[in-house]
């Protein structure tokens, strides 16, 4: 965590350290919707103190378990915590604590089973991970040689691995995000290699469910496959995958990964500044764009300027900021498995963020996360809002001359 230098020294230590001052409440999208003190991070930690520190009996109720899972793990509370507690890790720790005692919502058993059986969150066969690639003009390299579409990498020095992520791979609403991503990369002369069916869920949803141990098979498999390819750079459009690779995997391994993992917006920004991706001659995108900072990309990883730099580089794009931006950006509601446990609450949070975007007068709500795109698009549709929700890659590819299917 950047900015407030949030720290985490173990669940009980952080619970003890919490001053219960309540600063966290002001930044909490769940508290903002529910309104009861028990829904705020302070309330959740106050009860955790009773359970873990005071050892009070009979306070671990179903109501409390429900509250612990009413959290998007957005980390907004950590930004304002005067005790510098990494509240996101604390709440994840609470979920682990509940999981070990068999108190977590059973709906996560289904999630675990899906990932265990299919290696992705969708429940579909993992062989379908590359269905989106049928829309590509140029094929991408795939790990399994002999698979349709594989070609030798002609850009040996410019080869990147692209970790697509479960949402972009399987959910039709955002299927053109990987198409746009790869197309932009190819336009910049970058060879793209994907893992195809050998890409397994990174494990982020399991971490959010407090099931850390179940992440190991996916981690070991993904790392083995990436190392087999000898990749030095892995890019992903999913901030949560990036977070898992960059923070969780090395923590479990006890050593660095041995390759770099970039978010695609960092990589685009790098391509623009190094001159490999020239935006000056692209088709004008006459839009007023507001940018939504995904929680795992912004607060978690400190990447605020790279996407803005790319947006500002697109001719005729006018970038306007929402009131809550960068480290204070509101969550889209799509994090922390809230969609699994409380879909209606997640929807209300998303609608709040769309409202904030509408106040700017923007015609496009851009973001850099397929989950945010999915959740915010749905919210905009429910509200019949006249705003297009787009991933950065879609906007960029549109600017580069390719109409995005399902656009206006």
């Amino acid at each position: 965590m950047v900015g407030n230098k949030a720290l985490f020294q173990g669940l009980e230590a952080e619970v003890r350290a919490c001053a219960t001052c309540g600063s966290c409440r002001s930044a909490c999208p769940v508290y903002s919707e529910i309104g009861w003190e028990s829904a705020a991070p302070r309330g959740k930690i106050t009860m955790a103190k009773r359970i873990l520190v005071d050892r009070q009996k009979g306070v671990l109720s179903e109501q409390y378990v429900k509250r612990v899972f009413q959290c998007t793990l957005c980390g907004g509370c950590a930004v304002v915590c005067p005790v510098q507690i990494d509240t996101r890790e604390l709440l994840r720790g609470l979920r682990r604590y509940l999981e070990k005692r068999g108190r977590n919502p059973r709906v996560f058993d289904e999630l675990s089973a899906r990932i265990r059986q299919n290696r992705n969150i969708s429940g579909q066969a993992n062989e379908g991970r590359l269905d989106w690639a049928e829309d590509l003009e140029e094929p991408v390299g795939i790990v399994s040689t002999g698979a349709p579409g594989f070609q030798d990498d002609p850009w040996e020095t410019s080869r990147v691995g692209y970790f697509v992520g479960c949402v972009a791979s399987f959910y039709p609403m955002v299927a053109d995000i990987p198409v746009s991503t790869v197309s932009v990369l190819q336009q910049a002369g970058i060879g793209v290699v994907v893992l195809g069916a050998e890409e397994w869920c990174c494990g982020f949803p399991l971490l959010a469910a407090g099931r850390d141990e179940e992440v190991l098979p996916g981690m070991e498999h993904n790392l083995a496959k990436i190392r087999e390819l000898g990749l030095k750079t892995l890019v992903t459009g999913c901030p949560s995958c990036r977070d898992t690779f960059n923070y969780h995997y090395p923590r479990v391994l006890g050593k660095p990964l041995g390759f770099e993992v970039w978010h695609i917006t960092e990589y685009f920004s790098h391509l623009v500044s190094s001159g490999r991706l020239d935006l000056s001659g692209v088709q004008e995108v006459d839009e007023v764009v507001t940018y939504h900072d995904p929680c795992d990309l912004g607060r978690r990883s400190g990447i605020y300027e790279a996407p803005r730099k790319v947006l500002e580089g697109i001719p005729e794009v006018t970038l306007v900021e929402m009131e809550d931006n960068r480290e204070h950006a509101l969550c889209c509601g799509g994090g922390g498995n809230l969609q699994v446990t409380e879909p209606q609450l997640a929807e209300r949070i998303a609608e709040g963020r769309v409202d904030e975007a509408l106040k700017t007068g923007a015609t496009v709500l851009a973001t850099a996360c397929q989950q945010c795109v999915q959740v915010l698009s749905e919210a905009a549709r429910r509200k019949k809002a006249r705003i297009r929700v787009m991933d950065m890659s879609q906007l960029l590819w549109e600017g580069l001359g390719e109409a995005v299917p399902g656009g206006r």
């Binding site: 001052c21 309540g22 003190e37 106050t46 109720s61 005067p82």
Partner: protein
């Protein structure tokens, strides 16, 4: 237990509750008090909680409470430490966080009308987007609300230049204990000042009109340091007297506090070697240059050290993170009191001596809030996990208050837990206390609004019983002395 009446349940829907689970979260504030003591002295968990959205709803709740003779405790941020927003007699908690937002902003008059549940961070954010900002604010900026800080003392960052919050308030909308919604001004009867620092005992504030200011042209921060505090307090008094105009804020940290923060990795070297005074200037660049020269003169004149600009900026940015000391010492006991600036050095010496005798390290910081007064916080470590030791350690609080009062100061707020000191330390002149009680009697003859606070202790906290308790705790603490010394404090 009192049940939520059907008509109010229908009226408020999901904005009211009598669930034991939900109500339990409203039975405490930031201070840790051993549960057995809380249960012995109070009934802190309310019977029901309401989350109104307007003054009319507040009025309706109060009228209901009046009919049923239920205690009503207003609460917003819940960031007090003396029980001001925690029920003493259960009853009703009115959660005011739903009364949030800016109702009107007159840029020309630098005036804003705001709902009381708006936090200082939210109001300041609103104003900054328009080229304005608040005049002063609490260090609990992100949680403290406009109404809550006014109901407390209203002194903090920026008070040196703009005075306590009440000086900036031109009018209030208040729901009186009778249920009447009334607008009060600085000159009406009752007037604005009655409700400032009244801790919600005279009425529930439902609207505030206050002065704001344009964003300063420039800001600059200095961090003065010294191994002895004397020169720093001299410099602070010079700054407060206007010798380094335009000073916006002065913040002092004791060496023991800096040392603790540094050794815990929460402050950089060389802070741990010094007492520090953070001087923040706001004004025109020319004014700041001139003030900077004055500050340099003070540094030379008083034999101080000027620390690096980056440290000064970091200290300023840490103004909202005073509680980070809890990372090192999660069980802190605290005293917050007003001390004359002329006596700050003596206060510090005496309190640190007291700490040495008692085997605890006293950690002190202060905001200089006027020419004559500093708002001082002294913290010391105890152990919440050991209620016996915790209570014995708490006896030191009385000795710290006694020191502060002897030097012309006194507790900053009263709440519930400081009510015994009204008599023990004679916080108010008897005439003043009488006047405050008359106001309460006039506006709230039934005594339904936030009972047990501000005006006098409940029977179990009577000065005699409380005094005996303190003496016993102090006596027993002697037997813990050696063990505490072995904790590595010295």
């Amino acid at each position: 237990m009192i049940q939520l009446p059907k008509n109010l349940k229908e009226r408020f829907g999901s904005r009211c509750t009598d669930s034991r689970f939900e109500c339990s979260f409203y039975g405490r504030d930031v201070a840790y008090i051993p549960p057995f003591l809380v249960r012995l002295l109070t009934r802190p968990v309310p019977d029901m909680v309401f989350r109104p959205l307007c003054a009319e709803e507040v009025s309706e709740i109060i009228a209901f409470a009046g009919r049923r003779r239920l205690a009503v405790t207003p609460r917003a941020g819940g960031s007090t430490a003396l029980g001001s927003c925690v029920p003493v007699k259960a009853g009703i908690v009115i959660d005011l966080n739903g009364l949030k937002g800016v109702l009107g902003f007159e840029a020309g008059k630098e005036k804003v009308k705001v709902l009381p549940g708006t936090t200082w961070a939210e109001l300041d954010g609103y104003l900054r987007r328009r080229g304005y900002c608040v005049r002063s604010y609490p260090s609990s900026f992100h949680v403290a609300t406009i109404g809550g800080w006014l109901s407390g003392g209203g002194c903090g960052v920026g008070s040196l230049r703009y005075g306590p919050l009440v000086n900036q308030v031109s009018s209030l909308e208040v729901v009186l204990p009778s249920g009447e919604i009334r607008r009060v001004t600085r000159h009406s009867q009752p007037c604005v000042s009655w409700f400032a620092a009244a801790e919600g005992t005279l009425g529930v504030i439902t609207g505030v009109e206050l002065k704001v200011r344009t964003l300063p042209e420039a800001t600059r921060h200095f961090l003065l340091a010294s191994k002895e505090p004397g020169g720093l307090f001299e410099a602070a008094r010079d700054c407060a007297r206007g010798l380094a105009h335009p000073v916006y804020n002065l913040h002092y940290n004791s060496r023991s506090l800096n040392w603790a923060l540094q050794t815990g990795g929460l402050a950089p070297e060389p802070l741990g070697r010094y007492h520090t005074l953070a001087v923040s200037l706001e004004g025109t660049p020319t004014d700041l240059d001139r003030a900077g020269e004055s500050i340099w003169s003070m540094v030379k004149g008083y034999g101080l050290t000027m620390l690096d600009d980056s440290l000064a900026l970091e200290e300023w940015e840490n103004r909202f993170r005073l509680l980070r000391i809890r990372r090192l010492y999660p069980s802190l006991l605290a005293c917050e009191l007003l001390v004359p600036t002329a006596s700050c050095q003596q206060y510090l010496e005496e309190v640190e001596n007291l700490g040495r005798q008692a085997g605890v390290r006293m950690l002190t910081y202060a905001h200089i809030i006027s020419r004559d007064q500093a708002l001082v916080m002294t913290l010391y470590y105890s152990d919440e996990g050991n209620p016996f030791r915790y209570l014995c350690d708490a006896s030191l609080t009385a000795r710290i208050y006694r020191t502060g009062c002897r030097l012309g100061g006194g507790p900053y707020t009263i709440g519930f837990w400081n009510t015994p000191y009204l008599h023990l330390q004679k916080i108010h002149h008897p005439d003043r206390l009488q006047e405050l009680r008359q106001r309460k009697l006039l506006l709230d003859p039934q005594g339904i609004l936030n009972p047990g606070k501000v005006y006098g202790p409940t029977p179990l906290l009577s000065p005699v019983l409380f005094g005996i308790g303190l003496k016993a705790a102090g006596f027993l603490r002697v037997f813990l002395h050696e063990r505490v010394r072995c904790d590595g404090w010295e």
